[in-house]
Amino acid sequence: MWSYFLKRLGIAVLVIIAVSIISFVLLRLSGDLARDLAGEDATPAQVEQIEKLYGLDKPLYVQYFDWAFKALKGDLGRSLYSNEPVFNLILSRLGVTALLAVLGLGVAVVVAVPLGVFAAVYRNSWIDRCSLGLAVFGSAIPNFWFALILIYFFSVKLRWLPITGSESWAHFVLPTITLSTMVMPQIMRLTRGGMIEALDSEYVKMAWAKGLGPGVVFFKHALRNAVLPVVALAAVSLGFLLGGSVIVEAVFSLNGIGSLAYESIRRADFPIVQSILFMLSFSYVLLTLLADLINARLDPRIRLH
């Protein structure tokens, strides 16, 4: 178990370092940053001054190490636009996005896992067809458009829910529905596939042969094995939802990480963009590591292999 964990951790650290280098280099490619900051009428002397101030005159790898060591100490730099510390800006926006991602994933799991189980148990029945239709629908609908259609029906026509904002729980209903449809299809299909495989297996036949009831067979024997890949997918989906909420936040005017990233990209405020990219990658790697550990805990074959 420990050697498995250490190996995973080692790879995770390497991935994080690689991602931080890539996102750093990508954003420094964005033309002559010092000139952009100095403004159009700046003299060469002023540009040079700004290069010195932000350390942009140093070689790229020196700039990277400067950034990385500061980041390790929690100093992500300051916004080029508002001069506020990036760390505080991100912290103030994190709550909305985290809440959205958790709600979106929660709704998706609560709907998709039972649907997948029923679809597998009653294969080719109407419930199987319905869940398949839902999966096709969810993976083909443009989410920004789905959000607008939801607003049109529930906020404009029916007047049940507010259009934009984040003041009350009602403001989160439509964004949560939009986000959950982004991950529901995969979770449903994976649960269904896993359940079908489990139900056809020898140990489930054995469980039936022992005379166990359907509840025990479905949930204790089959689902426990079928749910393994779903756990991993759920963790990955959470990371995906944290990064993917940019569209939902833009449509519903929610002040989360996604809208902060979007505004910062438009303003070329790259310390913020870079920190958000890094933070999202970091949380993704952490979540997949967690998923691996949960899987190893649930499935002895993985940790003993």
Partner: protein, 300 residues
């Protein structure tokens, strides 16, 4: 001789070729046919937009702003889907928008397919350190938030058709790599690979002549999936204003422009959104259909 075996030409009749079997299955595969009709229609719209569009998609007519569609009171055959906030013909913009959608979707799928399948096949066939490096690359790619990276790159390199196609291709090669790698690993243990190796075939020969034909159908299915995803992401980027730039009619831009009028002219967002939705369903149906009819296990 009474016990003589049946002549061989009778066998040919009894055993149709793989292509014939694929064709026979395709004839009865409704999903495949619906998907094909949808994708072909979009492709035809894109190819022949100048002939199909009833009006110039860029021509503004501020006197005829927000004309209603044909099914609403006051609608006319001149503007079947009405006009937008600048008085431009919505149907013409929709037809021209198919160009952006099909070019970006198809281009991104082909580019990312080339990158991803190459990495996957090389990793799966060679194994060892090369494979470990490729798995690492896939992990790094998966850890990066795709939509945000795409938004940043578009803001750096601009929203031209070419730059968006390449950016999307560089972001979505991982699924090709994962599938091609797994498929290659399964194929490389088979006897015909060993036979080719024994007869002195080069690695390049084996990859192109022995492995690629055996995993091609899986790569094509992923290609359809990635084309659908690329179309959705392009629409989302354009909707957010960091994709194809107006006045070019991308379907995402059409939704974004219609948003200002959605409370009293909902058809301005419903029509382009439905176009994206239907095309993506069509591509998915086509991909699933191709998988069903080309699977070697499906032939009987």
């Amino acid at each position: 001789m009474p016990n003589a075996p049946a002549p061989l030409d009778n066998m040919d009749v009894a055993m149709p070729t793989p292509w014939q079997q694929t064709w026979d299955m395709a004839k009865y595969h409704l999903g495949l046919q619906i998907g094909l009709v949808i994708v072909l229609s979009a492709a035809l719209c894109a190819l022949f937009a100048p002939f199909l569009a009833p009006a110039d998609p860029f021509a503004q007519d501020l006197g005829a702003r927000l004309a209603p569609p044909i099914w609403e009171a006051g609608g006319s055959w001149e503007h079947i889907f009405g006009t937008d906030g600048f008085g431009r013909d919505v149907l013409s913009r929709l037809i021209y928008g198919a160009q952006v959608t099909m070019i970006v979707g198809f281009g991104a799928a082909v580019f990312s397919g080339l990158v991803g399948s190459t990495l996957g096949i090389v990793g799966g066939y060679l194994g060892g350190r090369v494979d470990a490096l490729i798995i690492f690359l896939i992990n790094v790619k998966l850890a990066m938030p795709g939509v945000l990276i795409a938004l940043s790159l578009v803001s750096i390199f601009g929203g031209s058709l070419l730059s968006i196609t390449i950016i999307l291709a560089l972001l979505f090669w991982d699924r090709f790599a994962v599938v091609a790698r797994t498929a290659t690993q399964q194929v490389r243990t088979r006897e015909f690979i060993a036979a080719a190796e024994c007869s002195g075939a080069s690695k390049v020969w084996i990859i192109f002549r022995e492995i690629l034909p055996n995993i091609a159908n899986q790569i094509i299915v992923i290609g359809s999936l990635e084309m659908a995803i690329a179309i959705l992401i392009e629409a989302a980027l354009s909707f957010l204003g960091l994709g194809i730039q107006p006045p070019t009619p991308s379907w995402g831009i059409l939704v974004s422009e219609g948003r200002d009028f959605m409370f009293f002219k909902p058809h301005l967002i419903v029509i382009p959104g439905l176009a994206i939705f239907i095309l993506v369903i069509g591509i998915n149906l086509l991909g699933d259909g191709i998988r069903d009819v080309t699977e070697p296990q499906g032939r009987n």
